[in-house]
Amino acid sequence: MIVQLLLSVITYGSLFAVITLALNLQYARGGMINFGIVAYLAAGAYAYAIVTQEPPSGLDQYLFGFDGPWWAGMIAAALAALLFALVTGWPTLRLRGEYLALTTFAFAEVFHSLLLNERRIGNGSVGLSNVERPVPEVAGIAIDESGFFAVAALALMLVTLLVFHRLLASPYGRVLDAIRDDELAASTVGKRVGRLRLQVFLISAVPVGLAGALYAMITTLASPSLFTAEVTFFVWIALILGGERTILGAVLGTFGLVLFEELSRAVPFESVRAAQVAASVQHVLTGLLFIALLRWRPGGGPKGDRS
């Protein structure tokens, strides 16, 4: 029970922390509000599922299934997220602040609506189930699956964290800070603002796409209901909770929030209605926490660590 809880906190905490880190890069360092980051995750998950699944048969409505190996699926996931970031990032380079927030939100909603309505991509609202996943074995002996995926997710998060940390501690990170603080000044000294902003979009999309592939493996499912705007807002809350501009804060904030969700899910309920009320109350508490944090802890998270 405790082990199970711990494992799922590590697994989902790591997966969502990858998205929070991407958001941290985009918002806290790049100054860009992305309200559609869930779409990168969905693109990754669907790309993985489509590349690895068998060709359609029977009641399947999807058109493509390549029956590829898992690593091909992972590469496809990263590429799909990258492509989505490129397609949505390029036309929005001119937009700032709330306009950018709304456009990214709109792109994510359009993508969600496509996945939901276009059955030829992934069976529409049913989604793709029984997503293939690698069978973990060490020297021919099968090992515990949930443990394996927890380690995989953790590893993905740590790699993302290291790469982002190195990147932001470099002169490149200081250029991003300069653009966020004063775009005009940055472009006056010859920094190409539009190009850098697009780069931030692309760099942050790759790990989220990979997280999407892992998410599809872990849940063995890729369906539109997993990738709603709620995911975006969840990650935003985690980011604010951990505090902007700190990598450690982003990770801790996400783990804290996932732990809270898993704990409240572990509470047994007598009736469906009670469980439903509890879920609503959880929503209310999350919202209140969000409002309070934004008001009283503008810096948030551990102080001092600016990387």
Binding site: A106, Q276, H283, G287, L294
Partner: protein, 287 residues
């Protein structure tokens, strides 16, 4: 013929969207930020009216008025308690905070009402047929109310002292304050007005549609679409924008599956923001 029917339905949808968006745009214009929680206020009003009407047995008109007043007061309360203290942090923080507010309101409605589909106790609508096109009396009410609201809002903003103060404040808050406009009173009047309009839209939603607790979220997408097409913060272009998006969504059903209706609204958002961020309004929106 079918196309004409879709067109008429589109006009009704458009009129509803005008009602739903005008308060949102008013908030954007005077308070200077995008209030994502605006759509949840539609839910507050719709479910208050529903509760008073079905459980309380109140006549629909009185229940609706009570719902609207309750929503206006709720909106004012949230504005004073949540948004006022953080106004100096800028529109981005206010926007993100309003997501939190939407969570709180949505969660409360969910907890109190529960899942399932609700309808008001007002009997089935009467359907009129004009030249083969069907329209119900409830739909006609929506159109009439949208027209009446737009007209009275125009008169209010151009003829009354409070209305002029609101316009002055939206154009230039500092100048308005130095010319003797009471900024706090005007801000409160705006919250009451904007939330009351959301309340009216919520009642209309309850009248023409069936209610479920996730309804508010679907509305915010369309409200955003209309507000952006109109140009953020513009008030009267909302009328054209609302009709345009309402008609575009409903007429599109003629050619493509109905599931894509929301997608139409969002395709409009993307096209407008990428090519003409100031929207239909000629000038850029004032901050």
């Amino acid at each position: 013929m079918l196309l004409l029917q879709y067109l008429v339905t589109g006009i009704v949808t458009g009129c509803f969207l005008i009602l739903a968006t005008i308060g949102f745009s008013l908030t954007r214009r005077v308070e200077g930020f995008l209030n994502i929680a605006h759509a949840e206020l539609l839910g507050v009003s719709a479910f208050t009216t529903w509760f008073l009407n079905t459980s309380g047995g109140w006549p629909i008109v009185i229940a609706a008025l009570a719902g609207i007043v309750f929503t206006a007061v709720t909106g004012l309360f949230i504005g004073r308690v949540v948004y006022d203290p953080i106004r100096s942090r800028g529109p981005a923080v206010l926007l993100i905070t309003s997501v939190g507010v939407a969570y709180v309101i949505g969660g409360i409605i969910d907890a109190l009402v529960g899942t399932g589909i609700r309808t008001l106790d007002i009997g089935l609508p009467t359907t009129y047929r004009v030249a083969g096109v069907r329209i119900t009396d409830y739909q006609l009410i929506v159109v009439a109310l949208a027209a009446a609201t737009s007209l009275s809002l125009a008169l209010f903003l151009s003829r009354t002292r409070t209305g002029l103060a609101i316009r002055a404040m939206s154009a230039n808050p500092a100048l308005a304050a130095s010319r003797g406009v009471d900024v706090r009173v005007t801000s409160r009047a705006t919250w009451l007005l904007a939330s009351g309009l959301a309340g009216l839209a919520g009642v209309m939603l309850a009248v023409v549609a069936t209610l479920s607790t996730d309804i508010a979220f679907h509305q915010i997408l369309q409200i955003l679409a209309v507000a952006i097409l109109a140009g953020l913060g513009s008030l009267f272009t909302v009328i054209y924008a609302g009709l345009a998006i309402g008609i575009a969504m409903d007429v599109s059903v003629y050619w493509i599956p109905a599931g894509y209706r929301p997608l139409i609204a969002f395709a409009v958002v993307i096209v407008v923001l990428v090519f003409r961020p100031e929207g239909l309004a000629r000038r850029g929106s004032s901050r």
